[in-house]
């Protein structure tokens, strides 16, 4: 896998309060979050966040409410300015941009989808979708054509002249998505974009997003507090707690090797059999292994199903190219479903620290 970093966040701090610079000094001297709040009234929003995001991938940032997710994503297009740190987009530090350059960035390179849609109520669906193009200074004809195309692409043909207030939540967020995609920005920021929707619509929107992503290959930063959603769409997941990142990894690895008990607690209600892929738990392939052949992105649940339907005692696993890369027994599968114990997590964490 290529490691082509597009967004790079370095030592990012955000302190909210009257005199953040002064409070920052205290933080560097080692003062904790609670003490800082008690003594100075300042709140630490983000604390030493480091995160590299790869081009064309979906980076999920997840955490509970108040963990700083929305603050973090707003730093990428500088809707919020950090107290300290760097945000590099293709090597360019966003903080060094002057007002005009920053507007250019927001017009052409980064676009955004909001939790509560943030559509313009006085504009029709078409005019909402075309909004970013107006700011780009495109001519009317181009705006109309592009907006019509994206409106159709998100399945809203026939609603072009409706106002947002006349649409359901799911449809409104389709408008939000189309508005963000229409600018052809390379980076798409999605701030809890589907959290306000009911579960069925949410799943539908996730499908639309994954479908679009297959075709468009954007770099997407997706904020959510919903673990199922994170596991479903994330190529990589960063877990945020109290403004600090605890773990950034492939979803499979987070399930198999949680960084600490907090992360493990997070995962405990997840149906592991349905989420884990066999590649995360398989043993290396050995010559002479025979059995039903399955792909490495098969879930444990599906693999168990195949066992139940066939006579063999092993499964052979192939990678994308069709090469045999691993094998699994029923015992391996069952072991995969088991959650790591607290002792194991702590031992792992200790090992990583050394």
């Amino acid at each position: 896998m290529s490691t082509d970093t597009i967004i790079s966040i370095r030592h990012l701090y955000k302190v909210f309060g009257k005199d953040p610079i002064k409070a920052m000094k205290l933080v560097h001297e080692g003062m904790g979050k609670d003490e800082l709040l008690d003594r100075t009234g300042h709140v630490i929003g983000l604390s030493d966040v480091n995160l590299d995001m790869e081009r064309h991938r979906i980076q999920v940032v997840m955490g509970l409410s108040g963990s700083g997710k929305s603050t973090l994503i707003r730093h990428i297009n500088r809707l919020i300015a950090p107290t300290e740190g760097e945000i590099l987009l293709d090597g360019q530090d966003v903080l060094q941009l002057n007002a005009e350059k920053l507007r250019e960035l927001r017009r052409f390179k980064v676009s955004m989808v909001f939790q509560r849609f943030a559509l313009f109520p006085h504009r029709t669906v078409m005019d909402n979708v075309g909004y970013g193009l107006e700011n780009q200074g495109k001519d009317k004809k181009t705006i109309r054509e592009t907006a019509a195309r994206w409106t159709a692409r998100v399945g809203l043909s026939g609603f072009e002249d409706h106002y947002p207030g006349q649409l359901s939540g799911g449809m409104q967020q389709r408008v939000g998505l189309a508005r963000a995609l229409a600018t052809d920005a390379e980076i798409l920021l999605m701030d809890e974009a589907f959290s306000a929707l009911d579960p069925l619509i949410r799943a539908e929107m996730q499908d639309i997003l994954l479908d679009l992503q297959n075709e468009l290959q954007k770099t997407i930063v997706f904020i959510t507090h919903d673990l199922d959603e994170a596991l479903r769409i994330g190529d990589s997941i960063a877990i945020l707690r109290d403004g600090a990142i605890i773990q950034t990894d492939d979803p499979q690895n987070i399930l198999m090797k949680p960084a600490d008990t907090y992360v493990a607690d997070f995962m405990k209600d997840i149906n592991r059999a349905r989420v884990l892929r066999v590649r995360a738990i398989m043993e290396p392939f050995q010559e002479g292994d025979v059995g039903p052949i399955i792909k490495n992105n098969t879930t444990i649940e599906e693999a168990l199903q195949i066992f139940a339907e066939t006579a063999g005692d092993k499964l052979v696993i192939t990678d994308k190219k069709g090469e045999k890369v691993g094998r699994l027994t029923v015992e391996d599968l069952i072991r995969g479903i088991r959650r790591p114990t607290t002792a194991e997590i702590q031992a792992d964490a200790l090992e990583n620290a050394n």
């Binding site: 809707l79 017009r107 955004m112 107006e134 700011n135 106002y163 207030g165």
Partner: protein, 294 residues
């Protein structure tokens, strides 16, 4: 002495001196700059006269059809169209056509002037908390000060006639436009503004495409109020020589002509209703997008 029944006021002589000082000070100021200020307002006078002549010169049925047409365009209701036609025809039949046109010209120019001056002030107030804090009390004073009081300096400065009348009316009527422009912009949802920022809108783009359109229903309510207040000033303005429906009313008051007062007063009310329905109809159509909101 201090605890006696009478309030310990300044000596009569002192009071007289203070008043005199203020009066002579202002008098010198108006002698010095009066002509210049008058010249400054000259274009306004020309515009007002031109507008008045246009309304008076046009055939009556053009005005009736035009006003009713605007009413229909604003509200998309034929009922309003018919109502305006009947009301204006009645005014004409009762012999008040010319004065009504003069008042209409005056009101429209005052409103236009209030919008041109008031909206930028409102926008400025919405952007600056300090600006808001300074301007709000000034507006309060302008609205509560008895209007006769500020007629005096205006007349001292510019004499009697249309322009001082115009200025007096604008001072009295401009406050709602300013207030509701400010309020309307401040009430625009934070989320819409953030979205505008996130898509790289400049300040001007944000103002023209997001803030003002979303504030427009409120601004329209302000304009409506301004028109109503300007109409209320018509009679008072007639005291300093503004011609129109106010003059016969003034005449009626001094000579106890009840019928004359009633007719002309009613004509003012009819004008008020017409303006009100037109602006409200327009305001409602601006909120069309809120139809079907849950």
């Amino acid at each position: 002495m201090f605890w006696s029944n009478e309030f310990p006021q300044l000596a009569d002589r002192t009071l007289r001196q203070i008043s005199k000082a203020i009066d002579t000070g202002y008098l010198t100021f108006s002698r010095e700059y009066g002509a210049g200020i008058e010249a400054f307002f000259e274009p306004l006078l020309f515009f007002l006269i031109w507008f008045e002549r246009m309304l008076l010169g046009a055939p009556w049925w053009v005005i009736v059809a035009g006003t009713a047409g605007i009413g229909y365009l604003a509200s998309r209701r034929w009922k309003l169209f018919a109502g305006i036609v009947i009301a204006l025809c009645l005014i004409g039949v009762f012999g008040m056509w010319e004065n009504t046109m003069r008042t209409m010209a005056m009101i429209l120019v005052c409103t236009l002037l209030s919008i041109v001056i008031g909206m930028p002030i409102g926008i400025f107030m919405a952007r600056s908390n300090r600006g808001q804090k300074t301007i709000l009390p000034v507006l309060d004073v302008m609205q509560t000060m008895p209007s006769f009081v500020y007629l005096i300096p205006v007349v001292m400065l510019l004499g009697i006639g249309r322009v001082p009348g115009l200025i007096a009316v604008v001072i009295y009527a401009i406050a709602p436009v300013i207030r509701l422009t400010n309020l309307g912009i401040r009430l625009v949802e934070k989320e819409a503004l953030e979205a505008a920022d996130a898509f790289g809108a400049s300040r001007l783009q944000k103002l023209l495409r997001v803030q003002l359109p979303l504030a427009l229903p409120n601004i329209m309510a302000g304009i409506n109020q301004t028109i109503m207040m300007a109409l209320a000033m018509v009679v008072i303005a007639s005291m300093i020589g503004v011609r129109g429906l106010g003059q016969p009313v003034l005449q009626a008051v001094t000579n106890q002509y009840f019928a004359l007062g009633l007719f002309n007063g009613t004509a003012v009310v009819v004008l008020a209703i017409i303006f009100d329905r037109i602006t409200q109809g327009f305001g409602l159509r601006l909120q069309k997008h809120q139809e079907g909101h849950r």
